[in-house]
């Protein structure tokens, strides 16, 4: 049984990211997003019989799906936490579709929200990385992606200017997104290269900014989605891949797990990278986009730097990529950062892109990425 075509995104909601913590809790954000997404899909709360969520860094606990079900006072027939870091939102889409296709439930609320605030308790670090990486300063995501970028430069001659171009083009789209955290002014390649070096070769403007925010979307059967006020955004293909935790022990630093994830998604969809009208690849760093475009098959391995240099990645360009500005300009509200790519994909396909709406957007590629390129989930969505 394939889930191809079985389920669709019928509505969504997205909070405009806030730079500060804001006077709201993660559960409050989740409730707001749930209410708005349910209404957007033309549904009532009682129509929701499935729930997928993921932990909030600023309110971390075990058994979070029940915490959310309790807060929303819903009684799901299918519920779980998707624990794939930044790939969680993309991972929710096919899990919801699979649960619906298996008859476990009809309509799944997928919701994430987080607050930029010190947590009461933090999720524990993996013990092996705490023992063998942290003593040397390989901590959190920045240095891990810098190690990837340095190796990519070494193997393929990728340049600082090429990496910077990703941030520049995405910023142009962010300037047409009223919700973007950094959407008031376009930037040039020199602005990126003159921004502070954080972990060589990554500059400040090549690194996501944590923020407060959240998002939600509704997945239901393709048949039911036809009753929605929105054009149903049908899941045509999905693929997932994992296999490492610390980047030191990844099979490759430069050929990522996006490759098997994207191959599986395109195979299921029976579409090719060349068929895509737009792409929304996870962009925690500029190098992430370059590696992801190569591994998803939009260009040859090692050609990603040249590819972004030769194409206009903005909403008005010849290769629209992260038309909401990407997380680099939109902001990264914890796991909900990865939700922004799914929601922007649905938004473009529903024709709700406002000033940045693409002409003739009928099929697109979305990728979620978690950890240090450790969790990958690729989707092909279509109307």
């Amino acid at each position: 049984m394939s889930i191809k075509g079985k389920a669709a995104i019928s509505g969504f909601a997205e909070m405009a990211p806030q730079k500060g913590a804001g006077d709201i809790t993660p559960l409050g954000i989740i409730a707001n997003m749930a209410r708005e997404a349910i209404a957007d899909a033309g549904l009532e709360k009682n129509d929701i019989d499935g729930l997928l969520t993921g932990w909030a860094l600023s309110d971390y606990s075990v058994l979070f799906p029940s915490v959310v079900a309790d807060y929303l006072q819903i009684q799901p027939k299918y519920f779980n936490q998707v624990e794939l870091g930044g790939a969680s939102a993309a991972g929710m889409v096919w899990r919801a579709a699979a649960a619906i296709a298996a008859g476990m439930c009809n309509t799944v609320l997928c919701v994430l929200g987080d607050r930029r605030a010190r947590a009461r308790q933090m999720p524990p670090f993996p013990s092996i990385e705490a023992e063998f990486d942290a003593p040397y300063g390989l901590i959190a995501a920045n240095p891990g992606y810098a190690l990837i970028a340095q190796r990519h430069k070494h193997e393929y001659g990728t340049t600082a200017e090429q990496m910077a171009k990703v941030a520049v083009d995405q910023r142009k789209s962010a300037c047409k997104n009223p919700s973007a955290l950094f959407g008031s002014k376009e930037i040039e390649i020199d602005d990126v290269l003159n921004s502070r070096m954080i972990v060589d070769p990554l500059h400040l403007l090549e690194i996501v900014s944590p923020c407060t925010g959240g998002g939600a979307f509704i997945v239901t059967s393709t048949e039911r989605a036809k009753d929605s006020p929105n054009k149903p955004v049908v899941l045509l293909g999905a693929g997932e891949a994992g296999g490492h935790s610390s980047i030191t022990h990844a099979r490759s630093l430069t050929t990522s797990l996006v490759k098997p994830a994207a191959e599986a998604a395109f195979r299921m969809s029976e579409a090719t990278p060349q068929d895509m009208d737009f792409v929304q690849p996870y962009d925690c760093y500029t190098i992430t986009v370059i590696v992801s475009l190569e591994d998803a098959g939009f260009c040859e391995k090692g050609e990603g730097g040249r590819f972004v240099e030769e194409h206009d990645l903005s909403y008005s360009g010849d290769f629209p990529c992260n038309t909401h500005g990407g997380q680099l300009s939109f902001g990264q509200p914890g796991l909900a950062g990865g939700m922004s790519h799914v929601i922007e994909g649905a938004r473009q396909l529903m024709g709700r892109g406002g000033e940045r709406q693409l002409k003739d957007a009928s099929i697109g590629y979305v990728n979620g990425n978690g950890g240090i390129m450790a969790e990958q989930c690729s989707l092909v969505l279509s109307v």
Binding site: I128, P135, Y136, G137, L138, Q150, H249
Partner: protein, 136 residues
């Protein structure tokens, strides 16, 4: 009490021989008796065949720099005084990769592929970290 504030390893039963060897300024990794795979980080089952028949072996300490980043901002507050410092992945001559710091080398002289040699740094009376320096 040591005034060392950076994160320290908390060895467990399986990893203790690695840190004991480091304290003697030796680099030891595991070897699978069933399939011959050299293994790092320490495990209770082979990373390839999942055999539990693993032994510890001394290795040369030689390797090459696989990738690196120069931290111009501290990746943890306790590293603030070390900026700029080099976080590196070294590929050991025997195969496995290891996370480390490159020391004894100006950051502008670091190149991927450079030969490196294990160098032991006693950071507390209990813990010796395995760092690497250029191998001339």
């Amino acid at each position: 009490m040591s005034d060392y504030t950076k994160p320290l390893p908390y060895p467990n039963g399986v990893s203790q021989p690695f840190w004991d060897a480091a304290k003697r300024h030796e680099l030891h990794i595991q070897h699978c008796n069933a399939c011959g795979t050299p293994i790092f980080y320490p495990r209770e089952a082979c990373s390839q065949c999942l055999s539990p028949d693993l032994i510890w072996i001394p290795v040369s300490g030689k390797g090459t720099l696989y990738s690196y980043t120069i931290a111009q901002a501290p990746t943890h507050p306790a590293f603030a005084e070390d900026v700029p410092y080099v976080i590196a992945i070294v590929e050991l001559e025997e195969g496995p990769r290891i996370t480390t710091n490159l020391v004894g080398c100006s950051p502008d002289q670091v190149t991927i592929g450079m030969p490196v040699m294990a160098s032991f740094e006693e950071v507390t009376p209990e813990v010796t970290l395995v760092k690497f320096r250029p191998d001339q």
